[in-house]
Symmetry: C2
Subunit: 562 residues, 2 copies
């Protein structure tokens, strides 16, 4: 395999693509005209009325895409998700993709797009990576309206006797802005509010984002919003949105955003891009509503979890699938030879050299994630995302390893070849759905104790030998039981780079303990976040942010975006 | 005149209205299909390519609507603007309305909608009053991205040697949030940025909003953004967006927002609703691009200024019209009998009683604004916005007063009767355009001195006998001359309630002095703000904010919005 003489940037490929009017994509899906709410010519929202119209229609099959623990080498989970959708179309199947919306913060900072890559992208990628249809802005507005209403309540007499030292609701911006991490608000004297310590998170870390992605309809959205705990009163009892009486207003601010967004891939495969919660302090998947809608509109839905299978797939299966009654048919586990070599001990700069021993060692990481998917009773397929530097011997090594253990594996070349490069994978996925046994069940019972639930995840998914709880976490468990919050699923906030809570331990670490430092109740979202270390909920910008390269050219088109 | 047995709320009238698909409205305007970018079925953005296609077409005639100084009695300037547009349609003329977008902050707080009232509204009013097409969110993002990039520059070594005590760029939210007026950011230690005093404004007070509304195209937008002064360095020299090198990225964030938004009135008259800067620290008019586009699409454009003629019309004529090369044909000055009685000394609770003497005294306020419009060399028409409590004698009194001075006056009943109630006014406006002399010129030469320009406005528009400049303002004038900023128009920030800088002096105060406390340079927008007192750039919420009444009903429709 050789490098092509010109490697085109993602934005160049995306901008040169022949894009179809979104109404043509909607026609493919047999949408009624009134169900499509266009946003420009190439994106649209789909009315939730569609779910009522198609409620007796059998659901399409859900395929979950996950990966090994991410490395700086890149795995390409989104690229495989898009490429697999295109591959399904190539073999004549009606497939649809359901993915997360990207956050503007990282776009202005450092990250590549979250819309796939090469010839497996969703378009129009500039729109999707910038404001898109305004969903995140609506979530930001609802989050910050709640903060303003809360501070106003305190300022106007504080009838609920909120302890200003125990306000837990933070404001958000959809930007990387480190200067807002720790702030003091309400300064300037008695007419300017009540001074207190505060901080801002990035929008994707808002509990409203998590709620938005777990709600099954608008009334469920309102119910969940009303349960958000915003503060504690002077008796240390929780104060909720319902106590403030503003769940109706916040729901109103979200009513249009709740409609999934329809776009297309470079090969015109329909895709719903909707919602995008953090994958550490939240569950990291696109909205339940989008996944369910895609299942009504297509025979196969390809969707992804955040980070690797230890975080993303676990949360998809234990939180999202449980809340929404979704049963996945198969899990695709994505890996690259480069990344496996990193897990096997090769530093980033040496990845171009063939290294069969490192590859062999790195396969341990993949092996652990396979066992995790098996623990959920689900069939799986391994997808090797091809890279130009992969050697023949390395490819053979993986094939042999899979053959020895009867693991289904397919090579995917969707970055370079689009859907054609995903045909082999699509066929294997289809065969696996039709032949493999599926006895899916979440890993734990929500009614078991908080400690038991955390231990189940840590031992069965991460391979930890034990879990330690800080004294703070132990006190919180007692308190949560008192408030009746113990019967909720657990959302683990752990480093994505390692199966353990130490980001430097790649491969398959053993004999380690997971420490739960603290819990964060997300009662509206309906889970308890278990924090294993410091989690960054407001990223910063690098010294040379990508914003420095961005521009609009004479024709009004985006320049320098990835 | 009697009260009808049932007075419907604005939202009830708006939701019961028969709304046409926006593509039908676009057809009325002969838009090309590719020029219309629908946002749902009832609102759309219009591509700026249209301006190129129609560049040789003769412009329609611009009609500016302004009013007496606003009072708690209500004048209904927006209602008249919409009703006059509908009235023009009734007499067979091709008219279009150009108005400001409302801010979400006041919507959640206390204010009624900014989309007209009764049977003279623009619809869909819920959408327009909530997120609309996301323009304000784009402006918020661009404003806050600049703040994040600025604080990041300081944190990453501060190559530009910015004095952290002299950062003048503030973050914004499109909410009423008093707790954000005065804050400290960058707390938490050396990894969390550099601590400094800061504050948030409401989005409509952002200089980016003013720039957005004055830019003539996307390249002009970028040019203006690059000139924004964000801070001063340790040598007290201005630091601009161009110095940070991020004007391209900020323009990119605004490229879609810059396209005007097409909606319709209750009677399907097309309206462009676009941009909405503050009328005190900015110029208070909808975007130049929308006004110019409306003039390409219709024979008559009805547009409004902010507040009364002393602020809104003056700024429309001296700032917007000058920057954009717009020449208005006639100015409509709106008044209500109720409001004139307040200017004549009647307290709000007694407005229902007939009071001819107070009315007579209140007419002095109207008289001053007439003189102002005459000073600009423009013809005018007085529009009396009818109210159910107006008595026959009061109406007669106004008619007689106008007749005595040969002032053209029309009664408008557009709130209750829609376009039919605006026919008389539309006819009078048309006659005035066709017959009256128009020798429009801005009031002052931009190349005259700052002091001279301020004095011209204060004496000729407000009727002040003199202007005093604080010692701070005097120092600033010297500094601005040094920076070459003195050749810019002046944007007065003064109370809207009085012709003077004392909000309690209604009617036509005389023998008063205006005090300029301070200047605020808006170099990107291209004007110098002259502050006559404290200007609130971040409103607060009332004890019982209107958010408490808002909800979404079972069908997903807005409830409790006005």
């Amino acid at each position: 395999m050789e490098l092509s003489t010109e490697i085109k940037s993602d934005i160049k490929i995306a901008q040169e693509a022949e894009i179809k009017p979104i109404k043509d994509i909607a026609e493919q899906l047999d949408l009624l005209e009134e169900e499509l709410e266009p946003y420009g010519h190439y994106k649209a929202k789909i009315s939730l009325d569609l779910m009522e119209r198609l409620k007796t229609k059998e659901d399409g099959k859900v395929i979950l895409v996950t990966s090994i623990n991410p490395t700086p080498a890149g795995e390409g989970k989104s690229t495989i998700t898009v490429g697999l959708g295109q591959g399904f179309a190539k073999i004549g199947k009606k497939a649809m993709i359901a993915m997360r919306e990207p956050s503007l913060g990282p776009t202005m900072g450092i990250k590549g797009g979250a819309t796939g890559g090469g010839y497996s992208q969703v378009i129009p990628m500039e729109d999707i990576n910038l404001h898109f249809t305004g969903d995140f802005h609506a979530i930001t507005s609802a989050n910050n309206a709640l903060a303003a209403l809360l501070d106003n309540h305190i300022h106007q007499g504080n009838q609920l006797q909120i302890d200003v030292r125990r306000v837990v609701w933070k404001r958000v911006v959809d930007l990387n802005d480190r200067a807002l991490r720790h702030v003091i608000v309400g300064l300037g004297g008695p007419l300017q509010g009540v001074p207190r310590e505060d901080g801002f998170d990035i929008t994707v870390a808002s509990e409203i984002m998590a709620i938005f992605c777990l709600a099954t309809d608008i009334q469920d959205l309102k119910r969940r919003i009303s349960k958000i705990v915003v503060a504690y009163n002077i008796k240390k009892e929780p104060v909720t949105v319902a106590d403030l009486g503003v769940e109706g207003a916040l729901t109103l601010l979200l009513k249009d955003a709740l409609k999934p967004n329809l776009v297309q891939t470079l090969e015109h495969t329909p895709a719903l891009i909707h919602g995008g919660p953090f994958a550490n302090i939240a569950h990291g998947c696109n909205s339940v509503i989008a996944t369910k809608m895609a299942a009504k509109l297509a025979d196969f839905v390809i969707t992804e979890g955040g980070f690797g299978a230890d975080l993303g797939a676990e949360k998809f299966l234990d939180i999202k699938a449980r809340a929404a009654g979704i049963k996945p048919e198969v899990v695709v586990i994505v890996a690259t030879i480069r990344a496996l070599k990193m897990h096997g001990g090769v530093p980033k700069d040496n990845l171009k050299q063939e290294n069969l021993e490192a590859l062999s060692n790195g396969l341990e990481n993949l092996q652990k994630h396979i066992e995790t998917i098996q623990a959920f009773g689900l069939p799986f397929v391994i997808a090797i995302n091809r890279f130009v530097t992969d050697t023949k011997n390395e490819v053979q090594k993986i094939k042999t390893w899979c053959a020895e253990q009867s693991y289904p594996v397919a090579l995917a070349d969707v970055w370079e070849k689009g859907g054609d490069g995903g045909v082999e994978l699509a066929q294997l996925v289809l065969e696996t759905i039709n032949s493999a046994e599926n006895c899916f069940a979440p890993l734990y019972d929500v009614s078991s104790s908080i400690i038991e639930k955390v231990k189940t995840i840590a031992t069965m998914v991460y391979g930890a030998k034990d879990v330690e709880f800080s004294s703070k976490a132990q006190k919180q468990i007692i308190e949560f039981e008192k408030f009746g919050w113990d019967n909720l699923p657990i959302c683990m906030a752990k480093t994505q780079y390692s199966l353990s809570d130490d980001p430097t331990l790649l491969g398959r670490p053993t004999n380690f303990t997971i420490t739960i430092r603290e819990f964060k109740p997300s009662i509206g979202a309906g889970f308890l976040v278990a924090l294993t270390g410091d989690v960054m909920t407001m990223p910063g910008l690098p010294k040379k942010p990508s914003a420095l390269n961005m521009d609009v050219n004479e024709e009004g088109k985006a320049v320098g975006l990835f």
